[in-house]
Point group: D2
Chain length 283, copies 4
């Protein structure tokens, strides 16, 4: 979220003073990948802000490919809430909900009730699934998940999460399992709870390989998807916020000024204690 | 909705005493069309109940292709509400909402706020569109539509409905226009309000041809769909009712016993006066 | 098809001397429609070359939105053949074949064996349909259609085309009917030959409205699509030419120099006599 | 392939004397999975012939769920060729080609040039991909693959198969990688050659788990699919054979009578020496 200060040569969609949403993904709009909607693999962009170049926790930010990486904000918007549309909501929605093909009446399990898992939980409700089961090790997060719309919660510390999911789904498993943690154990759990014909939609950022139990799954007609968010759905998500179909402000637990940023990171790093979900840094 | 009294040879899915939902479409499950999900065109079934053979307003009903045309009702269901799943809800959902590809953040207009239009209105909300504009000539029905979830209503008696829809959609028109009346004028209205790339999903039962303005629409990248309900979504809809994602009982305005059926038809035939939407006849 | 002479400010994908294919559709790559793949409705482009601004029958051409409206041509290409990818092949492919969902084993009728109909015929074969029935009034064109891959041809002068299509399809009609003429009579013929569950894909540029027989079609589960070509498939088509899956040069019947352009138009305007399909004007 | 001798009670689609194709998958047509097109998971059928019950290498065969598991053969068909449609062709087509979304102009690699890999190779050509790269350890099979339509072949004994695929695809990898072996090493090879946005379609029957390199693939926007063949495409494949879009007889290398079955198995078990692909046993 920001206000345009000055524009580079060739930028036509924006002018100084415009309030804009800054996408976490930069997209040139011209390369083969951008033309196919795979902005995350833009040959001169993608996930570069805060990764390969300086990010947005600053008073002034240079945005590459501005015409196709910024989104105009309608007047009278809750700009703080729209910060959630820069990264976390499209990530949960595209990588989890869209890839997972959540549908009316379907059964969904989300493994991991951190901010990304909750973003998937919020946006999964766009499609009216019958069951939205949230799985985590932390009871506080599961309590939050209930408030955010989970139909059931399971604390996986018990070691019986897979059996509990089966019990909730007539022994079949879920149509969609969303992996929102990024470790081998949770990815294997998704394999244990997926129904024939189902989809495992990975959101987690993994640091190591995982076991894929093809000796069981080869005949189960399942799909596994991975995705770095493309933010192709940012305009769609903006419309759902405008029409009050979703309230992204729910994800914001703390607010700081830019000169409190060290404290903000401390709070965020101790999320289990502080209950932090998303933290706003205001200039 | 009924209770199985006796079963024919070869029926394996049901037994006497089972409570079942009777679909308006009979499907053999074996023919080319049934195998493709086009139950409405089943070569020995389709829409035959109450059309080509006796229907269900009776104490005893013979159901052809029972194994694949009846649906088991879970214990403790609101069976009266489930009567809405025999015909009207799958019709609004399949012909209007699914064919019309209603999506999160999209704009939808439904022309006709009778029971079928309201069924489309209820089920369109499974997909969280940004705007759900209801158009009718009758203010009472439009008031009902507001209660059922319309975001805006337009009384088309003014003759300015198309202009009003354009004004509500930044001049673009809607992504989905659902025709739920069945006369040439309403079908033409849908052509006037559809945005480039949009879909006109016809539900109406038409008695005569209509004008299609290809001189304008040839370059507008639109689709027009027609459909006799297939009731392929009945299991999905049952799950949405079980999980309280939809409340079909909202559509029921009157209840009668079988020996009051003449009165019931009278009430139903004067819907504009009586406010009747759907009428339940109980044995 | 052209060679870049000089580039405007901000153009990054091309440099002088590059050989490029000039798309008939100009796309900014930035607007809502371009981002959705609807280049035909680009808010500052679309079909403007040769329509709203000067076209390409000239020694020098200015191309708006060059980065996203030109396509690089691989070395050693048959550049003359690639001229067919500027307009006619993507038109037949996108508006007819893709919209019509031609599929392996399906039945297809193409009404109109002019250049556009033949482009649909050529590209329909990408999907291996079982029947590709070509319908026209001109036996010479039908003979060409046979050479281009039609499995059957019907001269509709007889007035029995619909019955003949039915006879070729076990009485069912075709899964896909492609309208490649643009007059009411041929659009009605498509309605007469479409099978339940089928698609009528309109390519024709219509000058007047047509009758839509909803009194019959409301229950036939069909779709009708219209489309101004988007040329989103140009990269895909280039790959099919490179890999010899299609030979667009088949469509070229005559070649002229730019100073013979009057003669070229004369030949093209008397196609019935001259057998002209597509005519190349070389600088 | 067989001739009906007698029919069970309730069978309506067939009569004694009919020539029929016997699908490897039995489908009741009534259960939740059959209704969704997942015949492989039919609750009273699926892959049972020759697996859970006696198979078809016999003079007389009892077929469960006959109405929905047999397919009528048109008169004058090459019945021997149609044996290939019982299992191997739908397997290669559904699990490999359809799940892998092979498309005009796309790049495809098939790992494993045994009969199943060749079935995928034959049916992939329905969709006119630009490149069809066949990978195997056996040069004889790769020679066969060339004859069957491979555009390039790679002998993976070199250990450089991944690099060779990258070299053939401008460094990007393939849009579709079809795994037709069923061991961990070939599944890992598929992960090494898949392009961003691509699909790994598994056909292989795996006996053990495999490594999934999520530490690399989490951000590559890929899909992995598994599938036990459903044989939902058998009618489609029959039409492609009838219309000469495919010649399944190419897969048949040997023919035996039923009393030579021991010899037939011997030949088939030494495929590397005998060059056996598929072997016909005639009664």
């Amino acid at each position: 979220m920001g206000i345009i200060d000055s524009i580079g040569a060739g930028v036509t969609n924006f002018k100084p003073g415009d309030h804009v949403l800054i996408s976490c993904i930069s997209s040139c709009g011209k390369c083969e990948y951008c033309r196919r909607g795979l902005y995350s693999h833009c040959t001169t962009g993608g996930w570069i802000l805060g990764n390969e170049i300086d990010g947005t926790q600053a008073e002034y930010v240079r945005t590459p490919h501005a015409d196709t990486s910024l989104y105009p904000i309608p007047a009278n918007s809750d700009e703080e809430a729209l910060v959630m549309l820069s990264d976390i909501l499209p990530t949960g929605f595209e990588c989890g909900v869209l890839n997972g093909k959540v549908a009316p009446g379907s059964t969904v399990a989300i493994v991991g009730a951190g901010p990304i898992g909750l973003a998937a939980l919020l946006t999964a409700q766009f499609y009216s699934p019958a069951k939205l089961i949230m799985i985590d090790l932390d009871d506080k997060r599961l309590t939050a998940a209930k408030i955010f719309g989970a139909s059931q919660t399971i604390n996986s510390a018990s070691g019986t999460a897979a059996a509990e999911v089966k019990a909730l789904t007539d022994g079949k498993g879920v149509d969609t399992a969303i992996e929102a943690v990024g470790v081998p154990a949770t990815f294997v759990l998704c394999q244990d709870i997926i129904a024939p014909g189902g989809i495992i939609a990975n959101i987690g950022v993994h640091g190591s390989k995982a076991d894929l139990h093809l000796e069981k799954l080869w005949s189960h007609n399942i799909s596994i998807t991975t995705r770095l968010v493309d933010t192709v759905t940012t305009p769609m998500l903006l419309k759902t916020v405008q029409s009050n179909r979703i309230n992204p402000a729910q994800l914001i637990t703390h607010r700081f000024c830019l000169d409190q940023i060290i404290e903000a990171y401390d709070i965020f790093s101790r999320a289990a204690d502080t209950g932090a979900l998303k933290v706003i840094i205001a200039a």
